[in-house]
Symmetry: C2
């Protein structure tokens, strides 16, 4: 596997950090999840089935678990010994907390010069908001994302998904993997950082660049596209269809398949800019045609004609869709003691070295003994640590 032999010490909890380390684990890294004595709070969140949180199971596959109280001196000592044997450490404490626990960057690199450290936080470790408590929703609001999500007449809207947590986790996994590549070649470690807010700001993409170039603040566009028409959701005989012909060539195919080839030469509709200026009219013409047949009919007919279109799936539909199933984006994983757990599949596909679930999500502290034995703690020493509440 891509990251076989990369040892990751994972001090993160809840979502963004565990998503990052799940990605590293899916790519083959050996991830050791360090949990406070009560365990990651996600173990108790979301729907619980046979004693296991599906949310926890999904985001902690391909990890081992060790329980460790980092507030106790022996806990810190064990952490130091683990750092000496690790390639990567990921944490999502607030900025400064790790240093106050006794692990400032210089000590980390004394313990392991090639260590790649990655912090995930809300706003970055420099600047006036660095000490603020972070949360996905706040990053969505502060980053500008919510100002362009929603309908023009409605209020700014958060994403239905915890998108800033997930995007930060993806960036962190990339920053770590790139830094490990460099560390392998130079022996030099790195201190990397990703924030929920910066990640979402970077997603503003052409929204930001158009603002920079024009000075015009974009409105919430709902399902309209700022520079394309027709575009959006249209009612069919039995549901709705998403339609998105991105340019004049695609519009020409649409006009042909709808039986209105004359639209291509109509001055009101012949060009993208004309159609955007006459959005309501062209939407009405296209909508009138689409309402006459079913969603299935149009999805097949339009795609056969090369016009991008598709159904608007609810969450149940997604996991019955033949393409999603063919792509194995849903998997059933055996969890000894908890039955079978359904979870999301792997979006990164590799021909030779495919991602797989080598380990189901661990029970709390399931690997504490094997890890400590590896560090030289014998049965008696481990019993003492357990009694003292360190592990």
């Amino acid at each position: 596997m891509q990251l076989s032999g990369v040892r990751v010490l994972d001090l993160t909890r809840v979502l963004s950090g565990p998503f990052c380390t799940m990605l590293l684990g899916d790519l083959g890294a050996d991830v050791l999840k360090i949990e406070e004595p009560a365990g990651d709070s996600v173990r108790r969140q979301g729907a619980i089935k046979d004693g296991l949180s599906g949310y926890f199971a999904q985001f902690n596959r391909n990890k081992r678990s060790m329980r460790l109280d980092l507030r106790k001196p022996e806990g810190k000592e064990i952490l130091a010994r683990l750092i000496r044997e690790s390639d990567v450490m990921v944490e999502n404490f607030r900025p400064g907390v790790l240093a106050r626990m006794g692990f400032p960057p210089e000590r980390l690199h004394e313990l392991r010069p090639s260590l790649v450290v990655c912090a995930i936080n809300g706003f970055g470790s420099e600047g006036p908001y660095k000490d603020r408590p972070a949360f996905d929703f706040i990053a969505q609001a502060l980053s500008g994302f919510m100002s362009v999500n929603g309908t023009e007449e409605g209020e700014p809207l958060r994403s239905g998904l915890p998108i800033s947590d997930l995007v930060a986790g993806l960036y962190a996994a990339l920053a770590i993997t790139a830094s490990v590549l460099r560390a392998r070649e130079t022996g030099k470690g790195e201190i990397a950082e990703v924030s929920l807010t910066n990640g979402m700001v970077s997603m503003l993409a052409y929204i930001a660049t158009n603002y920079f170039a024009s000075g015009v603040v974009p409105p919430r566009s709902g399902n309209d596209h700022p520079i394309a028409a027709p575009y959006g959701l249209f009612p069919t005989r039995d549901g709705r269809i998403a339609l998105a012909p991105p340019d004049d060539v695609f519009f020409g195919r649409l006009a042909d398949v709808l039986g209105c080839p004359e639209l291509k030469d109509d001055p009101l509709y012949g060009t993208q800019s004309a159609r955007v200026a006459n959005r309501e009219r062209i939407n009405a013409i296209v909508g009138g045609k689409l309402a006459a047949h079913t969603t299935d009919y149009w999805v097949k007919t339009l795609n056969d004609a090369g016009v991008p279109s598709g159904p608007v799936h609810g969450v149940a539909d997604v996991f019955e869709d033949p393409q999603i199933l063919a792509q194995k984006m849903v998997m059933d994983v055996e969890h000894p003691g908890h039955g079978t757990v359904r979870m999301l599949g792997f979006p990164m596909k590799f021909r030779d070295s495919a991602c797989s679930v080598r380990l189901p999500a661990p029970d709390l502290g399931q690997h504490s003994d094997e890890v400590l034995a590896g560090l030289g703690f014998d049965d008696a020493a481990r019993a003492r640590l357990r009694e003292a509440g360190v592990i």
Copy 2:
């Protein structure tokens, strides 16, 4: 830099692929953008200033450009020679197109056994929809994302950002970097693939796991959080504030700072589940308090008390926010011949080996001569290729 010395051959255009290769370039890779004779269509999209598209400038920084007609035999021959000298090739043609151009996977690895190839497409290269035209909006609809984005009473809503393009670009950059790490150690290349739809399905996160465990299809929740209250946007004296106390501890801090400590022990509001059951009531109580002061007052007061909250920034506000500026999330880059271009900064921060703009976005074919000279084409040979329309 992390990816110094990694040579990337970039056959992609528009957004998802160029975003992926921008990330690789930001991390230090040497990215050669191969453009069809007319150039990447994004050169002509979005707001144009001094002859340069800000959209193009942002997503093509840290790349060189070579113009190459891959439909011509000499163009294909030059591509084969470039592949022999590359570590990575990224493409976002429809599945099968690259093979039909004469470059099936086996030939790519004959030319360069250690080559990491990454395809970015709409639905994956296997399954019933593999040949459908892809587009960000369709992936947002098909993946289930739109079904949870929007208000409960409104229709399914696309994201205000091209989120499926961007997420796929991030996954592709991670898949490539991890595969390069393996190729460096084993000499073995890889064929990787990421689709817009699979990337968005993987973002369903706890929405999907809760559905798998409970069978309940989640509604669009607007700005409410399915399992937390109070949560959302609240009017202030002069605007709106985003408020998100994630659990009882944070709610206790909120109750104290609002001057209503009795709420903590009220059976209607004392626990998260009680507050979710009485969402309208608790929102009314909290909203009444928040309306009495300005957004600035509450953002400071609540954060000082440790309650996650923030302003809802429009796109103009974002780039005036002191934290965003302190984090250098907006940059002014000199583009010789086009003046200064404002663009988004780097969300991945590194203490030792920071991302930077080593090269502004290239003019079309700006580096064709230096690349061809490196392959041994002399002045006369290059003049002949130019005359034949190959470059």
